[in-house]
Point group: D2
Chain length 304, copies 4
Amino acid sequence: MKPVHQVKITKGMSVYQIVEELEKAGVMGAGRFSRAAKILQKMIQDKECTVFFGQAGAMVPGGMKQIIIDFLQNKWVDVFVTTGATLTHDIVEALGFKHYQGSAHDNDEKLHKQGYDRMWDSYMQNNVYEKLEKFFQENKELLMQATSIREFLTKLGSITPKESILRTAHDNNIPIFCPALADSGIGLMIWGQLEKGNNFPINAFSDIKEIIRRSLDSKKNGVFYVGGGVPKNFIQQSMQFSKGAYYGVQVSTDVPHYGGSSGAPLHEGISWGKLDPRGEYADLYCDATIALPILHAALLEKIN
Amino acid sequence: MKPVHQVKITKGMSVYQIVEELEKAGVMGAGRFSRAAKILQKMIQDKECTVFFGQAGAMVPGGMKQIIIDFLQNKWVDVFVTTGATLTHDIVEALGFKHYQGSAHDNDEKLHKQGYDRMWDSYMQNNVYEKLEKFFQENKELLMQATSIREFLTKLGSITPKESILRTAHDNNIPIFCPALADSGIGLMIWGQLEKGNNFPINAFSDIKEIIRRSLDSKKNGVFYVGGGVPKNFIQQSMQFSKGAYYGVQVSTDVPHYGGSSGAPLHEGISWGKLDPRGEYADLYCDATIALPILHAALLEKIN
Amino acid sequence: MKPVHQVKITKGMSVYQIVEELEKAGVMGAGRFSRAAKILQKMIQDKECTVFFGQAGAMVPGGMKQIIIDFLQNKWVDVFVTTGATLTHDIVEALGFKHYQGSAHDNDEKLHKQGYDRMWDSYMQNNVYEKLEKFFQENKELLMQATSIREFLTKLGSITPKESILRTAHDNNIPIFCPALADSGIGLMIWGQLEKGNNFPINAFSDIKEIIRRSLDSKKNGVFYVGGGVPKNFIQQSMQFSKGAYYGVQVSTDVPHYGGSSGAPLHEGISWGKLDPRGEYADLYCDATIALPILHAALLEKIN
Amino acid sequence: MKPVHQVKITKGMSVYQIVEELEKAGVMGAGRFSRAAKILQKMIQDKECTVFFGQAGAMVPGGMKQIIIDFLQNKWVDVFVTTGATLTHDIVEALGFKHYQGSAHDNDEKLHKQGYDRMWDSYMQNNVYEKLEKFFQENKELLMQATSIREFLTKLGSITPKESILRTAHDNNIPIFCPALADSGIGLMIWGQLEKGNNFPINAFSDIKEIIRRSLDSKKNGVFYVGGGVPKNFIQQSMQFSKGAYYGVQVSTDVPHYGGSSGAPLHEGISWGKLDPRGEYADLYCDATIALPILHAALLEKIN
């Protein structure tokens, strides 16, 4: 049995050196953090591995958009699965809006009157919806051509005016899947168009074919989950009829003992055939707005 | 300011009497539990109120299916929004399978070999997928007629052979919405059909129209969330352009301070215009497999 | 393997009947709740079993004081271990004060000016300290005779004017242990006396002898933890050199994966020799202000 | 209102540069992390500030001992309050033992037979108690002279053979307080001595005088909590009759909404007069075995 070494931090250590130091401890959060960084590094550097990145939670209002963009831009990711909320916040910023540093203790009725929508201590102006509406109205002809959500998001990325997740994925040929896109501000924009009699012939199921094919066609699969929900589960189910994922990293604040998918530790996936029992996995119980920047810094030291 | 009364439990108290006793304490979980029961009672009994029930999490493997069925059967609910996983587990049981009492400490590789899929300490046999496949194959003609997820689920309910959520919703004309149905065993069955060249012309967005119309057309709205995820958010967004929900109860094990939708306290919705600031809300931080049976028992005492 | 039965709640079911119904589900929170109730019943009814009740957390401000009193009054408990905060809140109420139903969103600076101390959404008036001081000043002669914390608390119970945990334990000859009594309002009162030159010759360690003797002398031990912290750990360590606990129930909102004692599942104690591997244990992840009233009601049905 | 800037991580950024980048985001965990680092830096560098460090949880088995030692060695801390468990694990390593990297899924009965005590995925050999006993037996004459816990721990530090928290605190004249020392392996050793008829005349309350005096005598107070429990609360109560803490940082995995002291956000202390409303506070919801190494690295860049 390996002993727990006490972590020694010295002045000037780089983030990756800290990660290596945490590896010596090997237990609890420190050990999981180190394993997470090392496994991410492996899955990104393994040429045979297709990396599926599933992301849920308020990452754009929480300041993590650029890190997601950099993961895509660096081609560290082959498939991106996310929520409609993330893409809505992404396009809102691309259209020139900002999110704001607020307070979790502000009065919600007052905020409503002032036109701010609150996500814990981050705010968004409610008038983003008007500009979003205008943007969809202007681009509806293009968007109405899409027949799958993934295709719709590629088209949307092609016209997104500024640096954004959508644009970066488009420019780098990385597919974005978002099974529950209807459940978002973007969904509401399409609803507005439907109410005007326009038709969006987007099939609800056709994307499953592509994501499962990607999982089947690769030599190895790696999964990286930031948050749970639909993005995690949609990737997990794409693994079920393939060889399972060989690498896995999960950053989550949910817990296992209520039985839900979001909190399920990765190894539970082995019973389903979604993960390869010979693979390498790390479950990190940590706020992603803390873990992601540190993991990103560690990876930048070692990759490229 | 009201004093906290110390809760006094006496022999033979009914569940509703306990709920009333907890109301005297008025604070922390006890107070929230009591408020949750009272507000649920009000939203169900208020003739003008449309009740939207959003449910996520492993409620069928966790033994809560019958309670959900009873909520629908009792017509306590007007609109039901759920996950594909819940509906898959529901139909699996309707086709004659059971879930099993397992252990969170079993070896997942061994379970995989034995053919059991694990959800924490509940198991499902992996061969359910074969029977599911057969069932979809036999009924594909009917199911291929649906053009929306809600319509698809109504058709599915019409042919579900035994007591189930799907069947009960169908028999009671309660719409089921499931924006992320692609992300589930049912989604996989449709994928299997697509691979065989069959066509399921189900639009990804048309359901938004119906749920928003339901929210707009009612005199009052009530929301009841068991878990977060897409079901909660899809209902919340349907409130944004209506008058907002007047009653709200949320049973969740997620926490507010990471900024995600699942853990957001209901009053955050006031800033968005999704909840009416004059309304009544209770956020219950509790495992739903504990809270639901007790809440149900309390409601049964007072309604009808 | 046992199947998961779907829980069926019918009108008029008693709390114990609900508990038995939850047992059929047997998994997740429902199963743990049922097991917790049954194991509590067994440990209380087993004549050979010494029941150690460890309690931490804001149970008096949260309205659970009377339930703790009833557990003691019913002689369901043989040894009670708690925090100084619980005993301070207990004596504060016995001296005629109340706690108040507040709000977690009130401004703390305003509350300070108004003289209210906040515990989440429960308040206490800050002037309780003056009356506490007077009470200790008047009774110092008696209290200064104690040489152990347990003896000190027995003397304190003997003079506590109204129904209280302290008084009930005293009247029923149930020892109260509180290793960290210095860390509380009562500790501050003793500090006030020390500053006046009075002497409290209370030994910090002598209580270990008695609690370990209780653990050693019994035929069987049962442990009931509401919250973690020092009360849980102090009981656990008293089991380490005895036969270990045979029955165990833990109600906690802490989680296992950070490695702390409060969140450690009971079975971890088996590795230490603190729990008997043949025993019966249930870990309930639940707010105690929800679980305790329901568990109490269930027990009252079955135990005279 | 300040906008949320999206965090940009570039190759070669130092930890402190990452901290500054997170400050621009300003919200959720990222913002709290950055604030925590900056406030720690301020409280350490403010010559007028007395820094109280309260620590609970499995930090030695989790690999964080050296970081705590370095905080003491660097004189970043003026008063250290901890649990008996931390000091027991500390002395166990000083006597030549190691903790081990284990697994949370090992069988506890097997571990017991093999002589390993488990704390989640970290193990300790059970035979440490024999050597501890011998050590206390050999040094009892010195230890029996102590009349307070703080004095006892200073004497213990003076004879601890290797680099340890106890030794470092002793060598640097930093007092260690541990109100619940009875609740630990060290408490058990004293119990063993008591059983042999030896006397440890350690008063349970005399340390309150010193910690309150330290709080009263300083110009400013800063509090740094890693975990909650008795260490946090004991420091908090020492602030109640002084000017309150001016700086505060809390690293915790507990949550506010159950009303307990461990999960209470720092600003709740303002209502009690334990914190200065003009001060600077940050509550970090994070596994300390992840946060501490990163915070330490950031501080090392800027201090000295």
